[in-house]
């Protein structure tokens, strides 16, 4: 049991370190087991150093820096045990335009080997994707869906004012 966990830990922390460096443009982050001898007695810590800064407690990072750490952790797990399809719900909420775009570009790259479906309100994200699906609630309390909404109809401009098909 311990061997199993240590093998998973080694592979995922290597993924995590590499992916965080890519997403944050040079930051350093690592996964640390609180108790390496008896891993099941302790927890799993994350230490992160954004680019050009000192090592910080996780709490002292900014909202966006925390999101990048989280996304690096999620991608590290996904790459350890690949699946044919992924669904992400508004993971770009805290990110500025540059970082939201970086995440979208990373997803675009991965989408060559697996299907990605991502819910987003951000234009910088929507324009990276191959297809956009619009969801509206025209009728009282009932949702409907429109395929291939154009970018100009996206939220930053106005919510999709579309005829429901």
């Amino acid at each position: 049991r311990k061997d199993g966990l240590m093998k998973v830990f080694a592979a995922i922390s290597e993924n995590f370190h590499r992916i965080h460096k890519e997403l944050s443009g040079g930051g350093e982050a690592e996964l640390v087991l609180e108790n390496e001898k008896n891993p099941f007695e302790g927890g799993l810590l994350i230490k992160a150093r954004p680019r050009h800064k000192k090592l910080l407690r996780l709490e002292a990072l900014s909202g966006g820096e925390k999101s990048l750490v989280s996304m690096a952790f999620i991608f590290a797990l996904q790459q350890y045990d690949p699946s044919p399809f992924y669904f992400l719900d508004e993971v770009d909420q805290n990110l500025d335009a540059v970082n939201a775009e970086k995440i979208a570009q990373a997803i675009k790259e991965h989408s060559a080997v697996a299907q990605f479906i991502q819910i987003s309100l951000r234009k910088v994200t929507l324009k990276e994707s191959d297809h956009i699906v619009g969801v509206t609630m025209q009728d009282e309390g009932v949702s409907s869906v429109v395929m291939e909404v154009g970018i100009s109809e996206t939220p930053e401009a106005e919510p999709p004012k579309v005829e429901v098909t």
Binding site: S70, L77, P82, S83, P84, F85, D89, G134
Partner: protein, 170 residues
């Protein structure tokens, strides 16, 4: 293998809807409260019958369309996920695999509902479902499906809970 279509009947804010998906990278957008996260819940409803991931509902029957403003509440909900299976990742000899879950209100039964599973419209047991999903490495646990708010939770969760995420991968 990819998710080709989701068919929703009386699932949360959806009455009857077919949502086609394409390979590659799709995004879903729309106003607040329009029903985007309900699509993620529909996927978890089918893929994660044993999963502890809460579908933002107290009980399973909260997932059945409640009528919106002026319609009558529905008695059942049915969600089907249709996967392209040309690469036979699911050990089923068919180009498409349709996984369906059906729940209806049934006050006379303990728990107040019935729950049935179907593979290509043939009734099947939960264990058949489980083994099919395990083959294709599709799971509702782990982070293949990232719900709204999960990103913030990963940083805020306790260190032991975070280690448990790795335990489940081992």
């Amino acid at each position: 293998m990819y998710l080709k279509e989701i068919q929703l009947e009386n699932f949360k804010s959806f009455k009857r809807m077919r949502i086609p998906f394409l390979k590659g990278y799709s995004t879903v957008t729309g106003p607040n409260g329009s029903g985007k996260s309900n699509i993620a819940d529909a996927i978890l409803f089918v893929l994660g019958p044993r999963s502890s991931r809460v579908i933002r509902a107290g009980k399973l029957t909260d997932l059945i369309f409640n009528g919106g403003r002026s319609k009558r509440p529905a008695k059942y909900t049915r969600v089907s996920l249709i996967f392209d299976n040309k690469d036979r990742l699911f050990p089923v000899d068919a180009d498409e695999v349709k996984l369906t879950r059906y729940v209806n209100r049934s006050p006379s039964v303990e728990g107040g509902y019935n729950s049935y599973f179907y593979i290509n419209d043939r009734r099947s047991k939960l264990s058949e479902f489980d083994s099919l999903l395990a083959h294709a490495r599709i799971s509702a646990d782990g982070y293949n499906i990232v719900q709204q708010g999960d990103v913030a939770n990963i940083v805020q969760m306790g260190n032991v809970d975070r280690r448990k995420v790795l335990d489940s991968m081992a």
